[in-house]
């Protein structure tokens, strides 16, 4: 089951997008000027302008990518809920998908091997994606 996305969550805010675009344009202009300054022999100014241009360009690309990844609500598939059924006498353990009406410690039909009743011993969901650790 894939979760539906709420309206508007995949969009980068227009305000942020326009600022990023302006900064990007200025960065390109700064790099153009750097080239111009280099050609006329003003090497110090060329270096300063090139540094400003590169930093501004890198920052704007970074902000754009960050806001995209934040905005994307890419929900993974919801984990299935599983029911564990056990026979306490002969230790048989079965695992199946949850069915409405299941509950933990519910007696079920008789065991195939012995006459004892099977019992639901656990109902759970298993999350397989690893949580981010911070090494602290």
């Amino acid at each position: 089951m894939r979760a539906t996305k709420p309206p508007g969550v995949n969009k980068i805010p227009q305000f942020l997008f326009s600022i990023v675009l302006i900064v990007m344009a200025l960065a390109i202009v700064a790099m153009g000027l750097a080239l111009n300054a280099f050609l006329v022999g003003e090497q110090t100014i060329a270096i300063y302008l090139a540094i400003i241009g590169v930093i501004a360009l890198a920052l704007s690309v970074y902000v754009m990518m960050q806001s995209r990844s934040k905005a994307a609500v890419a929900k993974a598939e919801a984990p299935k809920t599983m029911t564990t059924i056990e026979c306490r006498k002969c230790s048989i353990k079965n695992l199946r998908e949850f069915q409405r009406g299941d509950y933990v410690y519910k007696d079920l039909e008789k065991c195939e091997k012995c006459d004892d009743k099977m019992l639901i011993t656990a109902i759970y969901k298993e999350i397989k994606t690893k949580e981010k650790t911070y090494n602290i």
């Binding site: 309206p7 508007g8 805010p13 000027l33 809920t81 949850f98 409405r100 410690y105 109902i123």
Partner: protein
């Protein structure tokens, strides 16, 4: 004017060319704009951020409402359209008692909560007449989750509109700062809806799960209110194991249940051990088991108060074992880590009982939490 600008722009070193001058003017304009309107720009940014999350909250609220309607139609077989009644239910509120003179406030709060509980259950019965007791409890839990989503959405919307109306930086900043926590809570309630609708055990049911394991196969009797107790031999002691009655979504009133068992066994109870789900701190693992002292029980505080009163009266020591999980885990379908930690909890329980009580002693073990999807 132009002379001043030319003088200023020449400071940037590119004043010779026309492009350089334009660029410098743009830089100066930017500087001035940010100097005077920086806070306003920041505020617009915050408003937009809150607006985005508000859309998401509205979506979660609507989905919750739809899920509640669908579940009631499916399980309750209503004779008429339950939508208007559900919409009315979502707007219910509870007024806590006046606390200017706090003496006796616990009884007042207890009474208000009882009235609320009875009223909401009656409403569910009217909406879904074909349900049994367990399903009524589950539907009530589903509607409460939808109600919580509705409430969160309305509170955030209130601050958003108020901030926009007054253009107050601090009004907007308040809501923007707590928004990540609010969203986490809303997402937790949203994921709880499915579990409640289907009657699946939730993370908060860790306590009842352990209690159910201990009392399974023993004679069970009902206690006030919506709780059950079984007398179980445990490591050479006599344990009165208490939990909310399952498998319907129900937390019962463990305060009253513990009080009753203590009064029934006057001066003979040597320890009370409570098992509950505890909120973990970031960095701690889900399903970790910890041990401590005190009444491990959440909620409005009425049950904690009653348990503390009862144990203080007879000077009974109280111990707590908790299973760590975050809010999202506590209200959504039980995670495997929590289910697997049950054996660890029982081992910890055994060590507390062996170290703190003597053979033949009478003890109380309380599995605190929502019994949804957990029988006994």
């Amino acid at each position: 004017m132009w002379a001043v600008l030319a003088a200023l722009t020449s400071q940037f070193g590119t004043g010779d060319s026309i492009i350089g001058q334009i660029l410098s003017i743009v830089y100066i304009i930017f500087f001035i704009v940010f100097l005077f309107y920086g806070q306003k720009i920041q505020m617009y940014n915050m408003i937009r951020e809150v607006e985005g999350q508000l859309h998401k909250l509205k979506f979660l609220r609507d989905e919750g409402r739809k899920a509640a309607i669908a579940t009631i139609n499916e399980i309750g077989k209503p004779t008429s359209d339950p939508t208007p009644r559900i919409d009315r239910y979502l707007e219910y509120f509870t007024i806590p008692p006046q606390s200017m003179d706090p003496s006796g406030i616990v009884d007042k709060l207890d009474h208000i909560l009882d009235v609320r509980d009875a009223r909401l259950k009656d409403e569910v019965k009217l909406m879904a007449p074909a349900t049994d007791e367990a399903q009524t409890f589950n539907l009530e839990n589903t509607l409460e989750a939808a109600m919580a989503l509705n409430f969160i959405f309305k509170i955030v919307r209130h601050f958003y509109i108020q901030g926009k109306k007054t253009m107050s930086f601090y009004a907007i900043m308040q809501v923007q700062m707590i928004l990540p926590l609010v969203m986490k809570e809303a997402e937790a309630y949203s994921s709880a809806l499915k579990a409640f609708a289907e009657g699946q055990p939730i993370g908060d049911g860790a306590g009842p799960l352990v209690a159910g394991k201990l009392m399974h196969g023993h004679e069970i009797r009902k206690l006030h209110k919506d709780c059950v107790v079984a007398t179980v031999p445990f490591e050479g002691r006599i344990a009165f194991v208490i939990k909310a009655e399952g498998p319907g979504g129900n937390v019962g009133k463990p305060g009253d249940a513990v009080e009753t068992v203590i009064e029934e066994n006057k001066k003979k109870i040597t320890a009370v051990i409570m098992i509950d789900a505890g909120l973990k701190l970031e960095g701690e693992k889900v399903g970790e088991v910890a041990e401590g002292i005190g009444a491990a029980i959440g909620g409005p505080g009425v049950d904690q108060f009653k348990i503390e009163e009862a144990i203080a009266k007879y000077q009974i020591p109280i111990y707590a074992v908790i299973v760590k999980e975050d809010l999202g885990d506590a209200v959504s379908v039980m995670r495997k880590e929590i289910s697997d930690s049950m054996d660890n909890v029982i081992e910890r329980l055994k060590s507390v009982v062996l170290e703190r009580t003597k053979e033949g002693d009478k003890i109380i073990i309380v599995g605190v939490g929502n019994s949804i999807g957990v029988g006994q």
